[in-house]
């Protein structure tokens, strides 16, 4: 016990807790809330409507001239109003449900979605010792010279961990459908499980070529490699200018397309939202849910979306790296990155995620839903084969055009 305590790294623990709180509660959850708002506003402008624009900080009530608005876009407090509404709604449990699983299901949707974020490198490094000059007057010893990595758990099996946990999300949906003891949720959950199983395969296979190119399963190192040598889909600097990287760009693009399509299916978004198609199944697997339990399903879907786009950004679009960073002098250098650049990297990562989410939303409001047999056919006959052939293609190309 004494040895255990002696070897205990308290600073690591504190840093981890701070990172978890920062990423989960200060970034992901507000982002989830605001992506719901973004979805409503974006869908509104696509359909030539205005969307929710009334909920704001009512400064005019306190004698100010104008309410807070960005570019004249109102409704920035809509997520708060939505959350408050969900909390105030009656939490109704139908009598016929299996109560234990009925309560478990929303948690099982939300928790895996949030758990997957631990391996995402959301920034490069934060050299907190840069702050020592600022807080020196406090008389504290100050931060150590070792920079803090901007990732909660620097696992060497990053993508595998993400897939393992993310696929647990289907249990939430299946349990919700089963425990509700009602036919529409049940149909929805059966569809969801069939769909997730068929797309999990192509999702896993689609990133194998990526892993072959990186020769690496550590997401942090992947990001560092892409920062120095060009993103997988934008090899325009460093080693990325070599012939082999440009030849491998083709299978990478195929991988990216398969990955994104499979991710849409995994997160149950249109055009693959058969689990909750409103027109056929009322609301799908969460028909019998109300209040905060319903909100958890809703938030779980958006959290999964954010994590999924985070993974896609990290694998294909350079993670936190700033485009053309070596030319701009904004590239990462282990241990020598100033604090402001570390923060800029974090910002870059989230900007990329936001763009990706807007793309998600745009797709949702552009494409019609697939029929179930079309979905299965697409999954098993095209995406799976394409991903498999892509692995082979990458392997052959890598023999003839070896990377350094």
């Amino acid at each position: 016990m004494a040895i255990l305590l002696a070897n205990f790294d308290l600073s690591f623990l504190i840093a981890s807790v701070v990172k978890i709180v920062f990423l989960t509660f200060l970034v992901i959850l507000p982002m989830v809330a605001y992506s719901v708002y973004a979805e409503r506003r974006f869908s509104a402008v696509i359909q030539d409507r205005v969307g929710p624009n009334r909920t704001g900080i009512p400064l005019t009530l306190f004698g100010f001239k104008k309410d807070i608005q960005i570019l004249g876009i109102g409704g920035l407090l809509q997520p708060m109003a939505d959350g408050l509404k969900f909390i105030l709604k009656e939490d109704f449990t139908p009598r016929s449900v299996n109560t234990f699983y009925y309560w478990l299901a929303p948690c099982l949707t939300m928790v895996p979605a949030l758990m997957t974020c631990v391996v995402l490198p959301f920034g490069s490094e934060l050299r907190l010792s840069d702050l020592n000059g600022l807080i020196g007057f406090l008389g504290l010893p100050g931060f150590s010279e070792t920079p803090i990595q901007s990732v909660i758990a620097d696992l060497s099996v990053g993508p595998l961990y993400t897939f393992a946990i993310a696929s647990l999300g289907v249990y939430g949906i299946v349990l919700a459908g089963w425990a509700s003891n009602s036919k529409y949720p049940f149909l929805g959950s059966v569809r969801a499980s069939a769909q997730m199983i068929s797309y999990e395969l192509s999702l896993g296979l689609s990133i194998i070529p990526v892993l072959m190119v990186f020769g690496e399963l550590n997401l942090t190192k992947m990001s560092i490699y892409q920062d120095a040598n060009g993103w997988l889909l934008l090899p325009l600097w460093g080693e990325g200018l070599s012939l082999s990287r440009w030849v491998l760009w083709v299978p990478m693009m195929i991988s990216f397309c398969v990955f994104v399509v499979a991710m849409f299916a995994e997160t149950n978004r249109l055009p693959f939202d058969l689990a909750e198609c409103e027109t056929e199944l009322v609301a799908g697997y969460h028909t019998e849910y109300s209040s905060m339990k319903f909100a958890l399903f809703f938030l779980g879907e958006y959290a999964a979306m954010i994590i999924g786009s985070g993974l896609a950004v990290t694998l294909f679009l350079g993670g936190w790296s700033i485009p053309f960073s070596p030319y701009l002098g904004l590239d990462f250098e282990a241990g020598a990155t100033p604090l402001w650049l570390g923060l800029l990297h974090i910002a870059t990562f989230f900007v990329k995620i936001v763009v990706f989410i807007l793309f998600f939303i745009l797709i949702r409001w552009s494409l019609p839903r697939f029929r179930f047999d079309q979905l299965m056919k697409l999954g098993w006959l095209y995406m799976f084969e394409l991903a498999l052939a892509n692995v082979l293609l990458t392997a052959i190309l890598m023999i003839f055009f070896p990377l350094k």
Binding site: A44, V45, I46, D48, V50, N53, G72, I73, I363, S366
Partner: protein
């Protein structure tokens, strides 16, 4: 019965693989999104009016049919002589008139009658304008008020006072009771 063979469009490979069709669809939605977004931030003229703040009152056409109301003439006389024609013509039976006699010492005593009570149930009214058309005295008009609200059914029944409030004064037109002209 003749058999109709429906001509399905022949799709090119890129259309079958959702490639060009996807791009086309995204272009349409993004175009609409950008257009409406520019309208919202004020870089383009808005098509949508945001109702309680912006009203279209000054853009109403001359022939707009809003709430029916009673009018007085330039001498402050009630034009209505409670002939009850509007009550009889009203398709949803929204109008209820209680006729009353004008006392003989009134300067307009020769008109003989005026409404003691005039009620229009605005829940029933369908804004057809038949009352306006049938009125021989041109006493009832459809004004441009369209936001008729109330918190109870009773509030939605416009009585005589309210009707004259909405209607106001109309000068000219029929002058047959006016000896001063």
């Amino acid at each position: 019965m003749a058999t109709i063979i429906v001509q399905r469009p022949k799709l090119a490979w890129h259309e079958k693989w959702y490639l060009s069709t996807l791009v086309k669809g995204l272009k349409i939605t993004l175009g609409h999104a950008l257009k409406t977004f520019l309208e919202i931030v004020g870089k383009k003229e808005k098509v949508t009016m945001e109702y309680p703040e912006q009203k279209w009152d000054d853009k109403l056409p001359e022939y707009y049919r809003g709430a029916p109301a009673l009018v007085t003439d330039e001498h402050g006389r009630e034009r209505c002589v409670s002939c009850q024609l509007c009550e009889f013509i009203c398709p949803p039976k929204a109008i209820a008139i209680t006729p009353g006699e004008i006392p003989s010492d009134d300067p307009w005593a020769k008109v003989e009658k005026r409404p003691l009570e005039f009620k229009i149930d605005m829940i029933r009214c369908i804004y057809c304008g038949m009352c306006e058309e049938v009125c021989p005295e041109q006493a009832i008009y459809l004004r441009k008020d369209y936001a008729i609200t109330g918190e109870s059914r009773a509030e939605m029944v416009h009585d005589k006072k309210r009707l004259y409030e909405i209607g106001g004064v109309r000068v000219g037109l029929v002058n047959k009771w006016n000896e001063l002209k």
